[in-house]
């Protein structure tokens, strides 16, 4: 560039120019300083963010539950050490992969992916403590949490909780009860057989007093046998292998048979039973006959037990759009208001009922509810203390 000399700018103008430059210089210095300050702050913020991040990572690393973080394309962004152990794969192998495409040679991962995707869609489903079996003795409980940290920042947290050990202990407990119950049946059979043979006079004549005592012993022993049967039913419910080959049949037949089975007990307490059934056949229901028999039997027995002598029990069968409905109404002692919530829990017995000293294990309604629900039915009741109780259950029509 050509620089003009000689009559360049007038002096004043040049001075003004110089002042301006000085001013700008000053301004630049200030700006520079401000920038440096900002940079320093940013650096500090970065450091503290990193510290936070390390803390979070340390928490994730040390969690006993496995964590997988997925981005909005279901790609794995983060894998915690516990998740590496559960999935038997290293984080390096998993990170970056689409969660639905992960494979494993050592464990069968398919059930997990199936649960995660719902029905074939490549979209993560909401799960809450969903129990998933991945191997003979390997169970995980999966939960998904949807995180929305910003408008375009959606991620999903997959939490894997290993419940194999809980399952093992549960199975051991169940097996223990089951074996113990079977073992108990043998001496109970011996007692039953012996007392019956003595009562039948097989080993000689007995006096009226002896007979009276032995009859009572026999009845106690029978109660014990029933209790063992109830316990066995409960363990089988808890093993989840309770229902056995349900078949379509008429609920009417089952109810009829169960009422006939209880004729003696009804007569003894002079209780009348009124059976109300529609004239035309109800739709069939798919049931495990033996287990559903336990349901109807339990409800009838309860009604008889808690109804005073000379009382009335009403049994009716009906239907709505999709279900067959069973109803049994007694004029018994009723269920106290404050105990209604616990009526279906294991070993629960009403306070008013315990005072009556009627026998009972507190397993009947627990078993009953579980059987009805295993048939995809519903069970509920209405009750007023001192007036009576009405139990209902429904079963889906075939």
């Amino acid at each position: 560039m050509e620089i003009k000399t000689g009559d360049a700018f007038p002096i004043e103008e040049a001075e003004e120019q110089e002042n301006l430059m000085k001013l700008k210089d000053e301004e630049f210095r200030k700006i520079r300083l401000a920038f440096l300050n900002i940079l320093e702050d940013t650096e500090e913020a970065r450091k503290s963010a990193e510290k936070e991040r390390n803390k979070t990572l340390a928490i994730i690393k040390n969690l006993t539950d496995g964590l997988l973080l997925l981005d909005d394309n279901n790609r794995i962004k983060l894998v915690s050490p516990a998740a590496e152990i559960s999935l038997e794969q290293s984080a390096e192998k998993l990170i970056g992969q689409n969660v639905f495409k992960i494979t494993s040679e050592s464990i069968d991962i398919a059930p997990l992916l199936q649960e995660l995707s719902g029905e074939g869609k490549n979209e993560v489903k909401r799960l809450f403590k969903k129990e998933i079996k991945l191997g003979e003795k390997f169970y995980l409980e999966a939960t998904t949490v949807f995180l929305e940290t910003g408008l375009h920042d959606k991620s999903i947290l997959l939490i894997l909780h290993d419940i194999s050990r809980d399952k093992l202990i549960e199975a051991m407990k169940t097996e223990f009860v089951s074996v113990a119950a079977h073992q108990l049946r043998t001496p109970l059979s011996a007692i039953k057989w012996t007392i019956r043979m003595i009562l039948d006079g097989d080993v000689g004549k007995i006096s009226a007093d002896q007979r009276d005592l032995l009859e009572k012993t026999y009845a106690s022993n029978e109660r014990m046998i029933t209790l063992i049967n109830d316990l066995l039913n409960v363990t089988r419910i808890e093993e989840g292998r309770f229902l056995y080959k349900p078949e379509p049949m008429q609920l009417e037949d089952l109810v009829d048979a169960e009422i006939k089975n209880h004729e003696d007990a009804l007569q003894m307490k002079k209780i009348r039973i009124k059976l109300d059934m529609p004239k035309e056949l109800l739709p069939e229901v798919s049931i495990d006959k033996e287990k559903m028999g336990i349901v109807v039997q339990n409800l009838i027995e309860n009604a008889i037990k808690y109804t005073q002598e000379g009382g009335l029990i009403g049994v009716s069968l009906g239907k709505d759009e999709n279900n067959v409905i069973f109803k049994i109404k007694d004029s018994g002692v009723g269920i106290p208001e404050d105990q209604k919530e616990r009526i279906f829990s294991k070993f629960f017995r009403g306070s008013n009922v315990i005072k009556m000293e009627t026998e009972g294990s507190g397993l009947g309604l627990y078993t009953t509810k579980n059987i009805v629900e295993a048939h995809r039915g519903k069970i509920w009741f209405e009750s007023k203390e001192g007036e009576g109780t009405e139990f209902y259950f429904t079963l889906p029509a075939v």
Binding site: H182, R185, T186, L188, S189, A190, K192, W193, T194, R196, M197, D200, D202, I225, I228, L232, R236, Y244, K245, E290
Partner: protein, 122 residues
């Protein structure tokens, strides 16, 4: 002629009670204390009916039943299971293997069991 019953039962007391009851009803009784012994006696004693327990030392009742039903010499002998197992699976397994009936010990008295035998033997 008195009908001959083979009782395969490892519990001594239960076996004695059952034997006593059946003797009083004019049956002829042979007893075995385990599966092996039972299988031998089904063949050698040619009983008219077998009462079979399931949980036995050595070979269990299901195996005894299966073997007895496979052997043409003993296949026709009616076998009644008398056990304290009694879940639906056990009952179905027993019936499939060819048992005539399945009785849960704790649910029947000796008299009731004896009556069943009479009915089956005619």
């Amino acid at each position: 002629m008195a009908k001959k019953i083979l009782i395969i039962e490892d519990d001594k007391f239960l076996r004695e009670l059952m034997v006593r009851k059946l003797l009083s009803m004019d049956f002829e009784i042979v007893s075995a204390v385990d599966g092996e012994d039972g299988l031998t006696k089904i063949k050698s004693e040619t009983p008219d009916l077998v009462l079979l327990d399931l949980i036995l030392p050595g070979i269990n009742g299901f195996e005894v039943l299966e073997k007895a039903k496979k052997d043409p010499a003993t296949a026709k002998v009616p076998i009644i299971i008398l056990s304290n197992l009694g879940q639906s699976e056990d009952i179905e397994k027993g019936m499939k293997l060819g048992a005539k009936d399945f009785l849960v010990k704790a649910h029947f008295t000796p008299q009731e069991i004896a009556n069943k035998l009479k009915l089956i033997l005619g």
